[in-house]
């Protein structure tokens, strides 16, 4: 009996014989946190937008110069171009006024226009976030497909060669920066084997390399987390009892191991998804993918405040909703959660 599992919360077996929860209660159990999350999402998004604004203005360097450099390119930018930018965009107006303006527009669901390209921020985000979502949406399942089976294998055969092999692989993948990994894949799969195009975004084939690059980095972490939690569950009395029942190792793991192991994995994966942004930046730059990570870096460098604010706002919403989704998933897997939350 592992010390970890011996003591469950005192509430663990406290229900009266008749104390079953109604179905309506179940729906509420799911709905209520969702609703409060929604409110929280709005708050975080606004806060992030405002902080983004403040940070952008706190950064040293002249906004007009930065904008001009991004807009006109390095060969043209000069004090004249900067002065023109300043006048055109009204960058001299009081900051409070600029922020208030932004807030006023946000209420009307208008995120303003990019100071660099002049396109509406919403439109830029729609394209770029869309591409990034595509990338992340492909990378995550891919990483789960790679990382989880490896982690599970390592956890089940802990201390033996699959464990060591997976650890080495994970460490290797975690020690190489995303761009080096991407390049290696590019050289191997595109240049040597000619299986996949190395860049661009014409079709699904182009999606494979960048998402694989991302996925491998993610899989490194998720395989470790999966390994730890599978190892813990494998040693828990729950799995022991499942074996004693006569379930085959496969059935025991499938029916009792995975779900229990999934709870911490999910929680960590949710966190990881958020941290994905950094990897996305690199991968997008490397593979010429027109996504938000890349655009955001440019926007920050160029002091394109509305674009940064808009991105931060959308990402704020995204983070909270993502947290909510992870919570919901945990809730569905782990029935104890609903009771604790209530």
């Amino acid at each position: 009996m592992s010390p970890s599992t011996r003591s469950r919360p005192a509430t663990a077996y406290r229900t009266c014989a008749g104390g079953s929860r109604s179905v309506g209660g179940n729906a509420w159990r799911v709905l209520r946190p969702l609703l409060s999350r929604l409110g929280q999402a709005g708050l975080v998004a606004l806060l992030v937008g405002c902080i983004g604004f403040a940070l952008m203005h706190a950064l040293p360097g002249d906004q007009a110069f930065r904008l001009a450099a991004e807009r006109y390119g390095p060969d043209i930018v000069d004090a004249r171009a900067a002065a023109a930018m300043r006048a055109e965009l009204g960058l001299d107006r009081p900051l409070a006024l600029q922020l208030l303006e932004w807030l006023g527009r946000v209420v009307r669901l208008d995120l303003g226009r990019s100071l660099v390209t002049g396109e509406p921020v919403i439109q830029e985000l729609r394209v770029q976030l869309g591409y990034t979502a595509l990338l992340a949406g492909m990378a995550l399942p891919l990483s789960a497909l790679i990382g989880l089976p490896l982690g599970i294998a390592a956890g089940l055969w802990r201390g033996r060669w699959p464990d060591h092999a997976v650890l080495s692989l994970a460490v290797l993948l975690r020690a190489v920066p995303a761009y080096a990994l991407g390049l290696a894949l590019m050289v191997l799969l595109s240049v040597r084997l000619r299986w996949l195009p190395p860049g661009g975004f014409e079709g699904w084939a182009e999606l494979v390399l960048p998402s694989l690059t991302l996925a491998l980095g993610l899989a490194a972490v998720s395989s470790r987390v999966a390994r730890e939690s599978v190892a813990a569950v494998a040693a828990s009395p729950v799995l022991a009892f499942a074996r004693w029942k006569g379930l085959s190792e496969r059935d025991a793991v499938r029916r009792h191991g995975l779900r229990n192991a999934a709870i911490p994995v999910l929680a960590v994966l949710g966190l990881q998804l958020i941290g994905l942004v950094e990897g996305i930046l690199i991968v997008e730059t490397l593979f010429g993918w027109p996504g938000i990570g890349h655009a955001l870096v440019h926007a920050i460098f160029a002091r394109d405040v509305p674009l940064v604010q808009g991105t931060a706002l959308i990402m704020g919403l995204g983070v909270v909703l993502l947290n909510a989704a992870v919570d919901l998933a945990c809730l569905l897997i782990d029935p104890r959660r609903g009771r604790q939350a209530a």
Binding site: V171, L271, T285, V320
Partner: protein
């Protein structure tokens, strides 16, 4: 995250931990003693010896500017460990402390801190790093500070979630009844339970910070030249991967060793 109650690992072979500790010591030794032993100046260039292969003059070869890789690596290991150690320590302490506070106090403080952490998560990490770096561009402390500012959230969230379920456990209730105070409960009952997962996070963190610096150098926000630092070297040497794969991969190898060492060390826990 009561499921993470399972998250405490089963015992691994103690020899793995020994190996991890040994490896870490070796690396630290290289970083601490290396710069003294190796007389070569890590900034000294010989453009005619650009990318010289390993040999008598350059034991580990030369980089694109004809600088000794050995000398640079020794300095880089020291600096990178300092940087990532500093960053992870700062982020870990702050995140853990705030996580414990939020879990203990609950209520408004908890909600406020959670809101803050969500906000930081949602803010582009780069923005924070840039902001702090702006105070002293190219220097190590602000860089560490900037990364820590984004990194603490991870520790906070894990600590808070874990501590919350731990605090709800009967043995904590029992400890309170027995008259133990907050310091004892957090220090003796909660932290030891959290330690393995925090160490795992820190292990990832050490490597992660170096990678972050590499990423930052990739977009030209790094330590100023000619500083030798593993992350910066990794991205600096990238264009020469095909020509001089050995020198180009060396910094990554050191990062890999560091990450491996941390994992081996954090991975096993004595029973």
């Amino acid at each position: 995250m009561s499921g993470l109650a399972f998250g405490r690992r089963v015992a691994a072979l103690p020899c793995a931990r020994l190996a991890g500790a040994g490896l870490l010591l070796l690396l630290l030794g290289f970083g601490l003693v290396g710069p003294w032993l190796i007389e070569a100046d890590p900034a000294r260039q010989d453009l005619m010896a650009s990318l010289a292969p390993p040999g008598a003059r350059f034991l580990l070869g030369a980089d694109h500017l004809g600088r000794s890789m050995l000398a640079r690596l020794a300095h880089a290991v020291r600096l990178s460990f300092l940087l990532s150690g500093l960053t992870v320590a700062a982020a870990g302490l702050l995140g853990t402390a705030l996580g414990l506070l939020a879990a203990w106090e609950g209520g408004w403080l908890d909600r406020g801190l959670s809101l803050l952490s969500d906000t930081v998560l949602a803010l582009p990490g780069l923005l924070l790093v840039l902001l702090v770096i702006a105070f002293a561009p190219g220097q190590i402390l602000p860089l560490a500070g900037g990364i820590a500012l984004a990194l603490w959230v991870e520790f906070f969230r894990v600590t808070r979630a874990q501590a919350r379920s731990l605090l709800a456990r009967p043995h904590v209730e029992a400890a309170r009844l027995l008259g133990f105070g907050r310091a004892y409960i957090l220090g003796h009952l909660i932290l030891p339970e959290l330690a393995p997962i925090l160490f795992t996070l820190a292990g990832f963190g050490i490597g992660g910070v170096i990678l972050t610096v590499a990423t930052l150098s990739f977009i030209s926000i790094g330590l100023k030249p000619p500083t030798a630092e593993l992350g910066g070297m990794t991205s600096e040497m990238l264009p020469y991967l095909a020509e001089a794969p050995f020198q180009a991969l060396l910094p990554s190898l050191f990062v890999a060793l560091a990450v491996l060492a941390c994992h081996l060390l954090a991975g096993g826990r004595p029973r």
